[in-house]
């Protein structure tokens, strides 16, 4: 087997026409592609020497078939040189900075030295060398004559895209009339005019000559002309535009010496400027422009082929016309046409040039367009590629899975394979996979013999093939439980958007995930789809397992807390379980804990009429490690105290176990390791689900209703706010309103009204709040942080409040009013989008309309934001992607430039330490623990001092952890 070559570097440069010819597989002279029999025409655009695309045909250059032949370049001999559009700016610069006669750069030695130095410096510092070139050209352009041969330099005019003119001042054709007119006496201005004698005296030109000039018989020489111009203060010249043909430019550039190019930073070895003028056009291989056969058998050619056909046609016509001695005008027209086709072949989006179009009117996609943009070669095919061994389908939740797992539909599992290298130890296993065939689940799709031959496993041959499987064969077996795969949801905004999961093969068609991994993926189940990638070598599988598994991603590097944890109903569940600390009988308690590894209840907390009981907090404590001590304030507001693994007091809610920095999960992950945290999150989720099912939890429209007297109170509160607003308006209209510093009176009024109405809504909310019991499901959700807020509740039960567009009350609509329902210049609350009703009570038509206005703004905002922040993210990642922490603690880019001497000034990892924590090492606590109390065991001491790393296991399915982390501790297989 041939050793794969590794790309060491890429050298960029222009190519010499001679090299084109040498590299070319054939010269292309025929504009046609296929003959009547459907075979490619010799020396045509589909010449088999340029490579083959039809299966079965053989490449005439390399002898291989389609698929293994990459294709070969051909060439077209252009009848006349044409300009390469990509270099028009540089061509203009070179024309302006070099001598029209000797081709040398119009800079003296000192200046040359300066620019040479600047160029070297720019290269060293990584600045743009093109800036130096521009500066040098600007300098050289100032020279009126060539410092080497003394030739006066003409100005160059560039008519976009590819025409250049030399502009020179020459004597205008009607010079005699001009002179005569200037010599005429001007009655109005009271000027006497000039007689020929006077002119002769003034200009020091003989009278005879003057007369001759005035008669138009003699063209004045330069000096004479200047003198006359001065004497009569007129301009006798006109601009003469001499068109520079590409061939002229090519000749000009050939004279530029290498050392002059060096000053401009042009590498003469790699790119001579005359090569920017094309004399030979390379014809890309057939494989880069494959033709497609349509359903009706007709061939449809690629855009590039179309363009090449045009070029060859014009090229032919050009040659024929020139040989026939056609007039210059026709030749020039054809030349321009040839230029146009070559230009659009290279770039079809040049401003000022009509794009070449397909017959259907669609602009052709030529070379530049193939490279550019998001779907172009660079971003679309090189930086990002489509891959094999991937699957995509809808996701749905499955709380019975571990967070490390993903449910894979069986039809995906039988399609995607893993390579099994057959060894002494797994021959039997491998044969069994093959024996099962491609359709029954743990089967195989292909086998590969040691000679490299791949055989498809079919239902028919599987039995037979299974017997043949020997050592060193490879079997492409189906995905089975415990395989590691990569799972991803777009947009992949952070690294937790791509994580590794272990496969659990399942029936039906969706990917199944545990709901606790929704936050990192930002997934929900309203139709979201996700992608899965099967890994194809051991290196990748090992890295995925060790670095990318979900449990390794529990902590987010953004804020150094956990991003995986309980969400929504889990939090409502733990809240119900621990808030009022309810009692459970033995059956109930066992039922709650049945999905966890706990199979024995602790001592009962007490006894009541029904027998022994266990409290919710005790049951929750069963999931905690025995030596956990914690104290923090919950989002419900009470103090949570955990002593020696027992929840002594407090409510377990979002701040304790939630995703985004739940204290318990965070501490567990940092102190007891990822595996322990994974076990805890899995168990808390199932305990919470059991708990919420035990209590029953639902929400309906009646849960937001408040008694009539409360409704009345709300109305009163809003009414009084209306009165206050009215007062404000009256003071304003009386001109008595005092403006806030730096604000106008009208602005002040708006602010005050907004404030008043904001308060009105809040008090409506407070009134409503008083009438909700603590067991109201909406209240439970808002308090525990599971979902929703008190504001949502206020809007549902109290009053929706002020609608705003651009942070102001609604002021748009008709002239001086928002809707025709109101009087012009009505400043009242209801006329500017205050919604006094609640969602439950229902909105009036006007309110509904204003609400929709506010809602629309939100939608627009989201749409704009996603595109803007997407671009920001792309730029940030592009700028920072090369930075890496080194063994010495510095942060450097891949070329070795130091960006930081220590990451974040102290080398602390953002994953393990959050921003506010300082160095993250709590010396005081460590000292207290060491001095304060004896360790119970040497083991505990070792663990506390970090001498012993917390146990971890690499799989939930293989090795000692097979029984899903059964047993009390977590078993380790490392």
């Amino acid at each position: 087997m041939q050793t794969p070559k590794v790309l060491g570097g890429i050298d960029f440069g222009l190519m010499d026409p001679e090299t084109y010819r040498d590299m070319s597989a054939t010269k292309v002279i025929t504009a046609d592609t296929y003959d009547d029999d459907g075979y490619p025409i010799d020396m045509g655009l589909m010449d088999p020497r340029l490579g083959v695309i039809d299966p079965g045909l053989e490449c005439r250059t390399c002898g291989s078939h389609s698929g293994s032949c990459n294709g070969h370049f051909g060439h077209i001999e252009l009848a006349a040189p044409v300009i390469h559009v990509g270099f028009t700016k540089l061509i203009r610069r070179l024309l302006r900075s070099t001598c029209r006669d000797c081709g040398r750069l119009a800079l003296d030695e000192a200046q040359r030295e300066e620019f040479r130095e600047r160029y070297d410096r720019a290269k060293e510092l990584g600045d743009d060398p093109h800036d130096v070139l521009k500066a040098a050209v600007r300098q050289a352009r100032k020279a009126k004559t060539c410092p080497f041969c003394g030739e006066p330099q003409a100005d160059i005019k560039h008519e976009k895209p590819t025409t250049y003119y030399e502009v020179q001042d020459v004597l205008s054709g009607d010079y005699s009339e001009h002179i005569a007119a200037a010599m005429q006496p001007d009655e109005e201005e009271d000027e006497p005019g000039t007689s020929p004698q006077e002119l002769a005296e003034k200009t020091d030109v003989s009278l005879e000559r003057i007369n001759e000039i005035m008669a138009g018989e003699f063209r004045p020489r330069k000096e004479d002309r200047r003198a006359i111009e001065k004497a009569l203060s007129i301009d006798l010249t006109e601009e003469d535009m001499n068109k520079l043909m590409p061939s002229d430019i090519r000749d000009w550039f050939e004279d530029i010496p290498d050392e002059d190019l060096e000053v401009l930073g042009i590498d003469s070895a790699d790119s001579r400027p005359e090569w920017m003028i094309l004399t030979v056009l390379p014809v890309p291989p057939v494989t880069t422009r494959p033709s497609i056969t349509l359903d009706n058998g007709q061939r449809s050619e690629d855009d590039l082929t179309h363009k090449l056909v045009d070029i060859i046609r014009i090229n032919q016509r050009f040659m024929e016309n020139r040989e026939a001695g056609a007039p210059q005008l026709i030749i020039e027209d054809l030349w321009e046409l040839l230029q146009y086709h070559v230009t659009t072949f290279i770039d079809n989006e040049i401003s000022g040039t009509p794009p070449a179009r397909h017959r259907s009117g669609r602009p052709l996609k030529t070379l530049s367009q193939r490279l550019k943009g998001k779907e172009g070669r660079f971003r679309g095919s090189l930086s990002g590629k489509r891959v094999n061994f991937s699957a995509r389908t809808v996701i749905s939740p499955d709380p019975t899975l571990s967070l490390n797992e993903v449910g894979v539909p069986d039809r995906v599992a039988t399609e995607m394979t893993q390579t099994l290298n057959v060894t002494e130890r797994n021959v039997e296993e491998a044969r069994q996979y093959v024996r099962n065939g491609p359709e029954s689940h743990p089967g195989a799709n292909y086998v590969r013999r040691p000679d490299g031959r791949r055989l498809k496993v079919t239902e028919k041959n599987c039995e037979e093939l299974a017997e043949k499987v020997e050592l060193d064969w490879e079997v492409n077996r189906h995905l089975v439980d415990g395989d590691i795969v990569i799972f991803n949801r777009q947009p992949s905004l952070h690294r937790m958007s791509i994580m590794a999961h272990e496969v659990v093969v399942m029936p039906y068609k969706t990917f199944r995930l545990n709901t606790v991994v929704c936050p990192p993926y930002n997934a929900d189940f309203d139709g979201d789809e996700m992608n899965m990638h099967a890994l194809q070598n051991e290196e990748a599988r090992a890295e995925a397992r060790v670095l990318m598994r979900v449990q390794e991603q529990i902590l987010s590097p953004r804020f150094g807390g956990n991003i995986i944890g309980a969400i929504q109903d889990h939090i409502s569940g733990t809240y119900l379980l621990t808030h009022s600390n309810p009692h459970f009988t033995e059956t109930q308690a066992l039922d709650l804990l049945r999905a966890t590894r706990v199979d024995e209840l602790p001592e009962p907390d007490g006894e009541d009429e029904t027998g022994p009981y266990w409290t919710g907090r005790t049951l929750f404590s069963e999931l905690l490690p025995d030596d956990l001590n914690l104290e923090f304030t919950s989002s419900t507001g009470d103090t949570v105290r955990i002593e020696n693994g027992q929840l002594v007091e407090g409510t377990i809610d979002e701040d304790a176990v939630g995703a985004f920095g739940g204290e318990v999960v965070d501490t567990l992950t940092k102190m007891y390791g990822e595996t322990r945290a994974r076990v805890f999150i899995n168990e808390i989720a199932s305990l919470a689900m059991r708990a919420i099912m035990h209590f029953g939890f639902s929400i309906g429209i009646d849960d937001e209703s408040i008694p009539p007297e409360a409704e009345q109170q709300v109305d009163e509160a809003i009414e009084s706010a209306y009165d206050r607003v009215q007062e404000l308006i009256e003071t304003y209209e009386a001109g008595e309103l005092e403006s806030l510093p730096g604000r106008g009176v009208a602005e002040t009024l708006e602010m005050k009204i907004m404030q008043t109405l904001g308060k009105a809504r809040d008090s409506a909310g407070e009134i409503a709040d008083q009438h909700f019991g603590d067991d109201n499901p909406a209240v439970v959700m808002a308090r525990s942080g599971a979902r929703g807020s008190m504001l949502n509740l206020t809007q549902m039960a109290g009053s929706v409040g002020q609608q705003a567009v651009r942070g102001e009350r609604i002021n748009r609509g008709y002239e001086d009013r928002t809707l025709s329902h109101y009087k012009p210049n009505d400043l009242s609350a209801e006329a500017h989008g205050f919604v006094e009703n609640s969602y439950r009570g229902g909105l009036t038509p006007e309110e509904f309309f204003f609400h929709a206005m506010g809602g629309r703004e939100g939608l627009v905002d989201t749409a704009v934001r996603t595109s803007k922040s997407g671009y920001l993210q792309r730029r940030l990642i592009n700028a920072l992607s090369e930075l890496e922490a080194q063994y010495d603690g510095t942060v450097r880019d891949t070329s070795g430039t130091i960006v930081q001497f220590e990451f974040g000034e102290d080398g602390t990892s953002p994953v393990k330490v959050s921003s506010g924590e300082g160095s993250g090492v709590d010396i005081d606590a460590i000292a207290d623990r060491v001095i304060g109390a004896e360790f119970d065991s040497a083991e505990e001491k070792e663990r506390f001092l970090g001498e012993r790393t917390p146990p971890t296991n690499l799989s939930e399915h293989a090795g000692p952890g097979l029984n899903k982390a059964g047993g009390l501790g977590v078993e380790s297989d490392d």
């Binding site: 960029f12 270099f87 806030l740």
Partner: protein, 420 residues
């Protein structure tokens, strides 16, 4: 370490033997000292335990070698971008001044725009200027640009071709606190007008009159227009100054917030505490205080922007990295095609970002060579990237290790071991 009375030489030896950086060692000594006071005595064993505990915890919290910190930081800033509001204006700490907030402000910072959308300065004051309202106002008047309309009434007399300014006595004395006579101030104003407009101004008391040199109605109106633009006092760029009393270091101090910024000019004003005064234009900071200050400002500004949006949990270390790469050259580079991404060494990396074709053509002219050592280039070339596990050059031989623990073959497996 003599400063810690309870730390013996033995203890010091133990602590010094750890890999801790000096700042943590110092903290360990302090803690030991404090604990010795608290518990009465600390044994050498306990110190050893503490040192090991601290060292292990320290090593655990260090960023891993070969960690792709750049990408992680970029994601950590970019990801919350989706949660930010687009609403341009919002009121910052000071309700009176509008400041660009949210995503637009973040984009503006990362773009390193020459002037922010809403330039502003926070001016802290020195000594008694900070505590005395009168004194503070003196600074206000020398910062806020004073134009004619703030000083008095302007009227035009078409018949006599005259512009007449009636200055307000009180305003004059208020804004020029060093003068006690309004007409003195009026004289200064008249002089400024003469210099700026090139006219002769007659001043009597607090009335100034002037007209075009040659009678022309157009000229007269133009003069009025130009008159409005003249800045008589303060910094031209600063439109407005808001003065606020704030609690700083247990002391009530006046702090000035300005709309518009001219950092260099503001620092020169007497009464301004240059060490605490800041500005939200990173380029002004760079010009006046240098690149390190600019870096600090980028960190502060991005941090404030995120905090204002309730994203206060984003780790500052990410913001530091962004600020560091922006200032790595010694000047401020933007993030994007005109800055860092556009000045990368690799042609392919530049071409893959933006303006693909131009980069390729320029590379050809300058005969550039792409070493393919960056990330994007290697993705394109299909090679492992030199970050994380891709940056490890360790290879294992494929031969069986014999009894002696020595590989039968030497450890240097051929480089293409992995390939076959």
């Amino acid at each position: 370490m003599t400063e810690h009375e309870h730390v013996t030489d033995d203890m010091e030896a133990v602590v010094e033997a750890t890999e801790l950086p000096s700042r943590l060692k110092a903290q360990v000594y302090e803690t030991i000292d404090a604990k010795a006071d608290e518990y009465g005595d600390v044994t050498i064993e306990q110190v050893t335990d503490i040192a090991t505990g601290v060292e292990n915890r320290y090593i655990e919290t260090r960023v891993d070698p070969l960690d792709p910190v750049g990408t992680v930081s970029a994601q950590s800033i970019g990801e919350p971008g989706t949660q930010m509001t687009m609403n341009t204006f919002h009121y910052a700490g000071v309700a009176e001044i509008d400041v660009t907030q949210g995503l637009p402000r973040l984009i503006e910072l990362v773009d390193a725009r020459k002037t922010p959308d809403t330039p502003m300065m926070t001016v802290h004051l020195d000594g008694e200027y900070a505590t005395d309202r009168e004194k503070a106002h003196e600074v206000v008047w020398s910062i806020e640009s004073t134009r004619i309309l703030a000083l008095g009434d302007v009227s035009t007399n078409v018949a006599d071709m005259l512009v007449r300014i009636d200055l307000n006595d009180d305003t004059l004395l208020e804004r020029w606190p060093t003068h006690s006579n309004p007409s003195e101030v009026a004289a200064i104003i008249a002089e400024t007008i003469e210099d700026a407009l090139g006219v002769d101004a007659r001043q009597s008391g607090t009335v100034i009159e002037f007209g075009p040199n040659e009678p022309s109605y157009r000229e007269l109106l133009q003069l009025v227009e130009q008159l409005r633009e003249i800045v008589f006092k303060g910094i031209e760029e600063v439109e407005r100054v808001v003065i606020r009393k704030e609690e700083i270091d247990d002391e009530e101090q006046f702090v000035l917030y300005t709309e518009g910024s001219a950092f260099g000019d503001a620092l020169d004003i007497e009464g301004v505490d240059a060490s605490r005064t800041t500005c939200n234009n990173i380029h002004e900071i760079y010009r006046n205080l240098g690149v390190e200050a600019a870096r600090e400002t980028i960190i502060d500004e991005t941090k404030n922007t995120l905090e204002e949006q309730g994203l206060d949990d984003v780790n500052v270390r990410h913001l530091m990295l962004v600020a560091d790469i922006m200032t790595n050259n010694g000047e401020i580079d933007s993030i994007g095609r005109h800055g860092i991404s556009g000045s990368k060494d690799s042609v392919l990396a530049r071409a893959a970002f933006e303006v693909t074709v131009n980069h390729l053509l320029d590379a050809a002219i300058h005969g550039e060579y792409d070493e393919l050592d960056g990330v994007i280039e290697n993705v394109i070339a299909g090679k492992p990237i030199a970050l994380g596990t891709g940056d490890v050059d360790l290879r294992m031989g494929s031969r069986v290790i014999s009894d002696g623990g020595q590989p039968t073959d030497d450890g240097d497996a051929p480089a293409n071991e992995r390939a076959d």
